[in-house]
Symmetry: C2
């Protein structure tokens, strides 16, 4: 570590996944005078993130060794993860060919798989990644430590508020979504008339919303998307953006309820505008089992 | 009730849903000298059930009044439900047109919906149906009370047994499926490498299996399908047949684990033959969290 580093802008690494989130995060952190070094996951990260970065390194989803070498070379000791990862790639037939796991990654995960002590669930895999970085002196940090304004507070984002029957669906779905998170299955459920239409697992939130639309062509259902009971704010934090809302409209959903304090977005204003134009209701509540006062 | 009835073969009603199960059940009960009166749900029941029945009455999914009048007219006091119901129809836009809820059904369910005291989940809706029949002196009974041989006992149905890693997936998925049942969401989950690929909700088991196939094109996953912690053997009992196994093969699944004592089939031998031909492993265990001894 150079002696001059403390006088220069603080360096930060970003591992960039899918969507606008990492791009807007990079822009926001650059405006806060951070120097950004980005390891961009191939087939995931949008290339425009490069314009906010000092250095930019594409990597395969399996190339942790490459990412670690990149960050070490640039004396990066704090790295934040932003944007989703296509978890289903891990189950695709050509994963090994397309994402070239490097020697370091292969070693980490073969140890993990051979240890046979833990579940192979998302949380366990992610913690294994974190440990791999920590072993190399690189700390995985939460983006919200640098930009706490990204966290949604308790509010109704839209002009439209939930009806009393929609509140019942939120309350019912919240309890179920909490269990789904506790079991490390997924973040969201679709509910109508206090009956569960769809539960998110490997397909992700968008897949779950689309399926609910097919299963409930009469529409008018509610999506509840929340964090885990002990949500780690360093990764897999529930995110929402205009793309999520477009999918809700296309599928016929009418309410999105998310968890205040555990949801991030860089598109709050755009989301509010889009939702109002499409008569969607979007609420952030601290505890969905209790109805929020108007 | 006529005085001669006790000397005549016992009369039984069947409300027939989807698939071979109600047909084979009717055949089996006829062979046991029961006289069968069948209310066949339109767009669900196979018409060949009629040849095993004394009387046959098509009904819409919403026509409980019609079914009750049919059973009362024929002095039927015990009715069993067999075969699944397309629950998603309840959420379709044209349900009211296609399934003509009659006045009696409308009254039952409007009271249920207006009472606002209970969840509108499957169990609650089914119990409401049972109560509606009981009020009219018709008892809903379990098919397995008349034909206990339909219940699968603990066994490996196939030549192929689960590998040790497949046992781990069964153990992991079993715990999750138990919770999914407890929450009244669905009966099955798809698992690979101790990671949940798909969870069944309104789409049903076949929909869940197909989705798992799309999400995991490399195949080799395990389906766990089990009863509720307090499974009511009168309805919604996990069923499996050759159609289930065909879907498993088409989707790339390699193991099906179900619950001994809470699963019914009328096609055990056909299933064993089909599974062996396709190198599937099918096991019935009492508690999937403990590995069955070979």
């Amino acid at each position: 570590m150079s002696l001059t580093q403390h006088n220069t802008p603080q360096r930060i690494g970003i591992i960039a996944g899918i969507g606008l989130y990492p791009v807007e995060l990079a822009k926001l952190l650059k405006n806060k005078n951070y120097e950004i070094y980005c390891a961009a996951i191939r087939d995931h990260a949008l290339p425009e993130i490069a314009k906010y970065c000092v250095e930019y390194q594409p990597m395969g989803l399996g190339q942790f060794g490459k990412a670690i070498r990149f960050f070490k070379k640039h004396n990066i000791t704090s790295v934040t993860m932003a944007g989703g990862v296509k978890k289903r790639l891990l189950f695709s037939a050509d994963f090994l060919w397309k994402h070239f796991p490097d020697f370091y990654t292969a070693r980490i995960f073969s140890q993990h798989i051979l240890s046979k002590q833990k579940s192979q669930g998302n949380d366990s895999l992610l913690m294994r990644c974190v440990e791999a970085f920590e072993l190399q002196g690189i700390h995985i940090t939460a983006a919200t430590d640098y930009a706490p304004e990204l966290i949604m507070k308790q509010t109704t984002l839209t002009k439209r508020r939930p009806s009393s029957s929609e509140w019942k669906d939120i309350q019912y779905g919240w309890k179920v979504a909490r269990e789904i998170g506790r079991l490390d299955i997924g973040q969201s459920v679709a509910v109508k008339n206090q009956s569960i239409i769809a539960v998110e697992a490997l397909e992700g939130t968008d897949g779950c919303i689309s399926r609910a639309g097919s299963l409930c062509p009469s529409g008018g259902f509610t999506i509840i998307k929340i964090g885990k009971p002990n949500q780690d704010m360093r990764f897999d934090v529930p995110y929402f953006g205009v793309e999520t809302l477009k999918n809700l409209v296309a599928s016929g959903a009418c309410v999105l309820a998310m968890e205040a304090g555990k949801t991030v977005t860089v598109e709050a204003q755009e989301c509010a505008d889009f939702a109002d134009k499409n008569d969607l209701c979007v609420v952030f509540v601290e505890d969905g089992t209790a109805q929020m006062a108007d």
